[in-house]
């Protein structure tokens, strides 16, 4: 059987910023391999380097050191080719509030090289997919938070990307909207799209992800499936039943008190 290439591969990925107080090492040598077709969770406390890593992998931020490939394409040497293969929904739906949902999706189709008729047809298809058909011709400014996230997801899917990056797609949403987004993510993944998901919600990672990595202080400190990570910790603790929260706290050296406000346990 043919071995599919990894959807995302990072080797010793490094990002430094020059700040007022010297160099800040936001990411310090991240190695990652995301398999094609999986939902990969990327967890970490605030400021651990999650978003910086995602921004590098999506070509939005230059790489200080190391290398990364998305869908087999080196993102530093062929950023445009990589952009054809990825879809991006960043923290807080980044949308143009003065366009309607339909106009926005049609514009994205045009920017991905579709002719007008194909762009309009794809917009209609996606609006139906994320159940925004009735709101399609309203300006986005009037959409609820959940509707905006769904539209943001649709916008990331216009060109049928191989890899979809979702940076905290449910932060700030109510439980019902969060469940809807989870269903969308599963449905998108079910069609063969690899999903790279960062989240602050451990239950979200547990529910959705095939595998996950935990980043802390710019370094990967755990990697594996939720079940593997829990089993490994349970074994170290003499068979004690553990949750993904315990894995996270163990990996990042935090206590429950210290973790409060950094990583949230939120049920949908």
């Amino acid at each position: 059987m043919e071995q599919r290439q990894p959807a995302v591969r990072a080797e010793q990925l490094v990002k430094h910023y020059e700040g007022k107080e010297g160099t800040v090492e936001a990411v310090r040598g991240v190695d990652l391999e995301v398999r094609a077709g999986e939902i990969f969770g990327f967890l970490g406390p605030n400021g651990a380097g999650k978003s910086t890593t995602v921004r590098m992998l999506t070509t939005l931020l230059s790489i200080t050191g190391g290398r990364a490939e998305v869908a087999g394409i080196d993102i530093a040497s062929e950023p445009d080719a990589a952009r054809h293969r990825i879809g991006v929904a960043l923290q807080e739906a980044g949308l143009d509030p003065r366009q309607t949902g339909r106009e926005l999706l049609t514009l994205h189709g045009r920017l991905f090289g579709f002719d007008q008729a194909k762009a309009e047809a794809r917009a209609q298809e996606l609006l139906e997919l994320v159940e925004l058909g009735e709101a399609a011709d309203r300006v986005i400014k009037g959409y609820s938070g959940g509707m905006q996230r769904r539209l943001d997801l649709a916008a990331a899917l216009v060109h049928e990307p191989e890899v979809l990056f979702l940076d905290e797609p449910t932060t700030g949403l109510d439980p019902a909207s969060r469940l809807t987004i989870w269903e969308e993510v599963r449905r998108i993944n079910g069609r063969g799209t690899t999903v790279f998901l960062t989240t602050q919600y451990l239950e979200e990672a547990d529910q959705l992800c095939d595998r996950l990595a935990i980043i802390d202080d710019g370094r990967i400190v755990r990697e594996g499936s939720p079940a593997e990570l829990k089993a490994e910790l349970s074994e170290r603790r003499g068979g004690e039943e553990v949750s993904l929260d315990d894995v996270f706290l163990d990996a990042t050296g935090r206590t429950r008190d210290r973790a409060a406000g950094e990583v949230q346990e939120v049920g949908a």
Partner: protein, 251 residues
Amino acid sequence: MSATLSLGKRALREALRQPDALFMTMFIPIFFLVVNTGQAAEIFPSDSTGFLEGQGYGAFQLPITLLLAASFGMAALFLVEEIEGGYFDKLRAMPIPRYSIVLGRLVAEAVKGVVLASIIVLLALPFGITIASGVVGFFLIILLSALWGVVYAGFMQLIALKTRSAAATNSGGLIFFPLLFLTPNFVPRELLTRPMEIAATLNPVTYLMEALRSLILTDLDWGAILPGFAVIAVLGALMLALNVRMIQTYD
């Protein structure tokens, strides 16, 4: 090119959905035209003021009105709003030339500039202002005003890209705005006090204003018109180069 045009169309749609902003862009310059003309028309009667070339003082004030209107473009503010809101990153993650993100907005500014300048000049005609350089002059006035709007918006976009802050972009406008008034906007350059004359001579906007004024008050005088277009060409090339460079290296 097609990405630039698609994004330009979007920016135009955006402008049309903010009619209040378009109204203010028209209202404030016309307000100043009326007020300045009302205050100074008695001082500079058309029959005894040589530099008016037989027209009323309103004709002399029309260039600053056009330049003011062109300088009220919203491109930079919409851009910085997009940077703060995250849509700018969404566009940067697409396989389009990054310069099309800034050029698209400038294309829209050019179209808006043509429409606004045409409206202002056409509104001025019933009030006795004539375009002495004729139909060709009319089109050159519209072109020059619209191009100035593009150049000004482009420099404001640089502030937006550099600071990524709406407040800083607004403040940045205050730095450029005085340039519009360090010009011979009330009297010809030779009638200014010496320090103001030096300031006006060093200010590139002066040549733009003098080109517009020449087109309104006299027949086609290329000696006055070409310096205006030269200023646009030099500032425009600089603005475009800086915009492209800044968005290509945006991190």
